[in-house]
């Protein structure tokens, strides 16, 4: 199996996000960058498939220089090589998906895995768009994946509200991973030491033939309003209950 895993580097979920001057971006100084947690499930699944069926796991990511660190981390987890689409431009999901699809098209992958969404912008666009650009089937929000290499088919279980949908499809295909698909492994020390020597090919949008025709522009960002201090009702429980109902109706306007 030749598997491509598409990863995005995002701010650590524990980062305190601040809006940068101009209200169109966030302050990136001092941010700890990590691999999008959903993409980690995709990497783990790719590595497990490779361990079962053999083949190769290639990781691709788009972004500035710092993204190389995320790619190296996947190599330390056991991926074979990386492709870094190096760009400092602010891109939208559409352009990123075009670039990733171009990388995927250049080599024939059997399977393309990624997270169901990135936890920074939560757009959940890239996986499906890549499937469209490559004209291959896709299953999103996958909790379980089985590969039938003999018949070149996949069985994927995806999460729906309150139920599980089982999808059977041929591959090549795009699969996006949901939490629960697996438990990502630790990088191993030998792989950490080897990661430096593994290949990370640097690509550019231009070399991939992508004109960054950005269709989505961030108009403004604002911090969520600060939560007002809680009001604590004390005294007689019956009176407090009446007061609570009154407040929920008149002040919070929720009943």
């Amino acid at each position: 199996m030749k598997i491509l895993v598409m990863v995005k580097q995002v701010p650590d979920t524990a980062t305190r996000i601040r809006v940068a001057e101009g209200n169109a971006s966030i302050v990136t100084d001092g941010i700890k960058w990590v691999i999008n947690p959903y993409d980690e499930f995709a990497i783990e699944e790719a590595l497990r498939i490779k361990e079962r069926l053999g083949g190769e796991v290639v990781v691709v990511s788009a972004g500035p220089q710092r993204v190389e660190e995320a790619i190296r981390q996947t190599l330390a987890m056991g991926a074979d090589r990386g492709v870094h689409i190096k760009t400092d431009e602010a891109l939208d999901s559409h352009v990123v998906a075009q670039a990733l699809a171009a990388v995927a098209r250049a080599e024939n992958f059997d399977l393309i895995l990624t997270g169901k969404q990135a936890v920074d912008d939560d757009a959940a666009q890239v996986g499906p768009l890549v499937a469209v650009f490559l004209d291959v089937p896709q299953v999103t929000v996958v909790l379980k994946l089985e590969v039938d290499a003999e018949h070149q088919r996949l069985v994927a279980e995806r999460e729906l509200e309150g139920s599980i949908e089982v999808v059977e499809l041929p591959y090549p295909a795009v699969i996006t991973a949901q939490r629960g698909l697996n438990e990502p492994r630790y990088p191993t020390l030998p792989n950490i030491m080897k990661a430096k020597k593994k290949e990370v090919r640097v690509e550019s949008l231009q070399a991939l033939g992508i004109v960054p025709n950005v269709k989505v522009r961030t108009v403004s960002l604002s911090e969520p309003p600060e939560r007002p201090a809680a009001k604590i009702l004390t005294g007689d429980p019956v009176a407090a209950a009446h007061q609570l109902v009154e407040l929920l109706h008149a002040e919070a306007k929720v009943i």
Partner: protein, 387 residues
């Protein structure tokens, strides 16, 4: 000058951090409970399971040479790993380690002592200190007298780390009283079943070193480690070989503790305001942060110097002295910020408080470190303004 870590070093740090958070920290309340009830915090079985889990991801023998299956990491990478291990008080260490001087063993001794120690099937202890000889190791009194094909050892050792658990001791004895430390001291590999006994010494911390008693213990002559009369050189090679490892652990502990104090200060409200708004608390937080940062760069520099093949003994002593004192200052302030809660056994602060006190004593007391540092400067071994 570049203060940033390499990609490899960052990955090692992040992986150990992840491992400690996911596998080791969850044991903390159990460890506290066990210790309170007089049992070892981590049972030998639990430790083995954890070490095996770490081994599965290659964290085993991290400083052990590759020909013995280790990863042979550099000093800086090791220091980074130790900082992460220091974030928890659970006494966990990666397996696959053997004392540096065991590598001086003969091929036959390696089979019996070095390799089983690396593999974890045998445990060693380094037995130099005596009631009348610590860092002044030249004063040891334990004697070894040749009798036929063996040596007969008599004397006492104290404060021996792992002395109660060890299967064998690397024990130092006077073999030629006329020669003094240089030439008169020899190191022996003495199995416990050759007849030495150990007794735990209760301490204010949670680990008990051992007192070792040798009464006419016969050690075969082939069990001399290194050469007869060269024991002092071996001892000096062991002492201080990784002195920077102590402040490395101290940094991890101090960062964890300061984090706890900041959280507490933000949530504890007095007179209508969180105590984090009080300058008295803020100053304590600031002083902790400054000292942690200073200790960190002193320690990383000492480790980095070792990786460059530079003589780092002066820097190591400074890092150990400062880092040990930093940890004591930080834990004291953190306890103070927690007020009464900090003094209870419900929180691990008091436990850390007792543990870090040792940092100022073992592997050379504060006073020995100061002596080394001052002597280097007075003798001109180290020149000011030239680093």
């Amino acid at each position: 000058m570049d203060f940033s870590l390499g990609a490899e070093e960052k990955l090692i740090r992040d992986t150990v951090r992840d491992f400690v958070e996911r596998e080791v920290m969850p044991l903390e309340s159990e460890v506290l409970r066990n210790e309170r009830e007089g049992r070892p915090g981590v049972s030998p079985h639990t430790l083995k399971v954890l070490q095996r889990k770490a081994k599965d991801i290659g964290f085993w023998g991290i400083n052990t040479p590759e020909e013995y299956g280790g990863a042979n990491l550099g000093s800086l990478a090791t220091a980074l790993a130790f900082v992460e291990l220091g974030r928890t008080f659970v006494p966990f260490q990666f397996g696959g380690y053997a004392d540096n001087i065991l590598y001086s063993a003969t091929p036959e001794q390696k089979e019996r002592y070095l390799i089983p120690t690396i593999e974890g099937s045998r445990r060693s202890c380094f037995a130099l200190t005596e009631p009348g000889a610590g860092s002044d190791a030249g004063n040891i009194r334990m004697t070894a007298v040749k009798d036929g094909k063996s040596w007969v050892l008599n004397g006492e050792k104290i404060f021996i780390t792992n002395g109660n658990e060890a299967d064998f001791a690397m024990v130092f004895a006077v073999t030629d009283p006329s020669k003094g430390a240089h030439g008169g001291v020899t190191c022996f590999l003495a199995d416990r079943d050759m007849g030495w006994r150990s007794q735990p010494i209760r301490t204010m911390g949670e680990w008990d070193p051992g007192a070792l008693v040798f009464e006419d213990v016969r050690v075969p002559e082939e069990n001399i480690l290194g050469q007869e009369g060269h024991g002092f050189d071996l001892a000096m090679r062991w002492i201080g070989a990784a002195r920077w490892a102590i402040p490395a652990r101290a940094i991890g502990a101090a960062e964890r503790l300061l984090g706890m104090a900041i959280e507490h200060a933000k949530s504890r409200v007095t007179f209508g305001e969180p105590i984090a708004n009080r300058q008295a608390i803020q100053w304590m937080i600031a002083d902790c942060a400054v000292e942690i940062d200073a200790a960190k760069w002193m320690t990383f520099k000492a480790a980095w110097m070792a990786d460059q093949g530079l003589d780092n003994r002066h820097q190591s002593s400074m890092a150990k002295l400062y880092g040990a004192n930093m940890a004591n200052q930080v834990v004291d302030r953190v306890l103070q910020i927690h007020g009464g809660m900090g003094y209870t056994k419900d929180l691990p602060i008091e436990r850390w408080y007792r543990e870090v006190r040792l940092f100022r004593i073992f592997d050379g007391t504060d006073e020995i470190q100061r002596y080394i540092i001052a002597r280097n400067l007075i003798k001109g071994n180290v020149r000011l303004g030239e680093d």
